[in-house]
Symmetry: C2
Subunit: 322 residues, 2 copies
């Protein structure tokens, strides 16, 4: 497998007029404010139920752009490939990127490949960077949560993390676990069209809902209280967590978002979300409160009324999850 | 070394108001046409005379933007780090990125780090993506070379490639070889201010001048003829090539560019280049001609008048050169 062969493979699979120009940089027309982001992907296994590193690399970057309210538009991809990695697997990965990019309405406009010797990388790593345009008037940030805001999750929690982990452990369930890996640009666009009261959007990837809520609490200087029993989970995720002794709140998600919305607008936003295939199970799971103790905290309340602190997960519970 | 520790290290070293917001994507104000590019860096050794992977990751991306005439502005960086890699080395790499970014006038606005287990990567890999703004009226592309154009190189050829290779071979010269690794955004800006007759800009990295000239010949559908004896080389590069049996024309450069300029403007462009520290040795080394045979070719002419074809380097002469 030569470097040229790989570049041809990618150029062909991802072809579009901008990529085809093959200059050192792509030239694009954009208007207004721009969102710009990056994510490196090192997931293992590279292929998993519900996706693969290719799909993940597109949806991860698309979702990061969408989480500040931007319309995802263009992607670059840097590939680091271990010498001897199967060409047919690379083809499958790039085809999967193309499918995800088409679904998300984005174009891959520049790419780079580096082949390293056997043993210097583990299969393939993909770093994607993305740009999108931020519609005027949109101001979404992790620091915008306000007391009274409703906390909405867009669907079941923990699917991606439970899938990757159970694969690694070689576990098989009767109902197969599947990653939720999906592009959320369309969902966000419909939410923004439905309401001007969306303050925060965040995709709970590494560290799961626990990390995301803690980050928002700290950025915004607020407390967050969630009702533990109403958070939606798939039965098989719950089963996997029980077997493996895991807390689903720290498991990564790759096709879910958390929205903080002005209370009066929550119903409207929820309706808009449920009309989208990636928001069917959207649920209000909690609310924002003023800081109660010396620093911002996230609390989980049970049906019986007891309350516990959800702390920031420390270290990396699941390395190479994305 | 935890993932959080590394993120703190990067956030501190590269601090700026946009990066500090820590949202999923950076929000930027830009006007007009945008250039967008990506490069993965896997160079070994990670530290080399004249630079390191950190400096290279910034200058490589800055230069790709400059080569379509864009003013480099913002960078994202995705780090893939092998568990156990020295924290002090990471600090040195990030400090070096900061120095290069300051020199180039760009900001690192978003970053991502993934730590993989020992043996799953070789030290550290950095993928940088960059955006820049293309001034109105600028139209630089590898497909714009025209018969009659002067071919200018900005300085000595082969410095980076010869440095990396001799390090790997454990060779020591009396005069130390040094990579030319440098940001060329300022040089390009001054060239564009001096003349509207610049048709092509390209940095001859992987595959060296031989690959770059062949790519331009094919993209533009022209022949290119260069005078082999007037191409500037450092004595120590020439010596290394003789010892190792290498052709300096295929060695990578990381702080040089090739410009194709309308003949009447060549003198003005050359003067502007020589006034910049990265263009002091700029030299006209050849010219563009109409295609002579059945397909575009690059020729080297010797002082004695003989002529040979410079073919596209096949395969990767020097893997992990950048």
């Amino acid at each position: 497998m030569t470097h040229e062969l790989v570049e041809q493979l990618f150029g062909k699979a991802l072809a579009n007029p901008i990529l085809d120009r093959m200059d050192d940089a792509a030239s694009l027309e954009l208007e207004g404010r721009i969102a710009f982001t990056v994510d490196s992907h090192v997931v293992t296994p590279i292929f998993f139920p519900g996706g693969d590193i290719g799909r993940l690399s597109i949806t991860g970057t698309v979702n990061d752009l969408a989480m500040i309210g931007a319309k995802p538009l263009y992607i670059t991809a840097g590939f680091i490939i271990e010498e001897g990695y199967l060409l047919s697997d690379l083809e499958a990965i790039v085809a999967s990127m193309k499918t995800a990019a088409d679904e998300a309405g984005v174009k891959v406009v520049a790419g780079d490949t580096k082949v390293v010797e056997r043993g210097a990388a583990d299969g393939v790593f993909i770093t994607t960077s993305g740009i999108g345009s931020i519609p005027s008037g949109v101001n979404i940030s992790g620091s915008n949560a306000r007391p009274g805001d409703a906390v909405i999750v867009s669907g079941t929690i923990g699917d991606h993390g439970a899938t990757i982990l159970s694969r690694r452990e070689g576990m098989v369930f009767e109902v197969e676990l599947k990653s939720d890996c999906a592009p959320l640009g369309g969902l966000v666009e419909e939410m923004l069209a439905a309401s001007h009261g969306i303050h925060v959007l965040r995709d709970p990837t590494r560290g799961g809902l626990a990390a995301t809520l803690n980050e928002i609490a700290i950025s915004s200087g607020v407390d967050i209280e969630i009702e533990e029993e109403i958070i939606p989970y798939r039965g098989e995720v719950r089963a996997a967590c029980e077997l493996l002794g895991l807390d689903p709140l720290v498991l990564a998600n790759e096709g879910k978002l958390v929205a903080f919305v002005a209370e009066a607008e929550a119903k409207m936003v929820l309706e808009a979300m449920r009309a989208n295939r990636y928001g069917i199970d959207a649920t209000v799971v909690g609310h924002v409160a003023k800081v109660e103790s010396s620093r911002p905290r996230v609390y989980a309340r049970t049906l019986l009324g007891s309350r516990r602190i959800i702390s920031m997960p420390t270290g990396e519970q699941l390395p190479r999850i994305c």
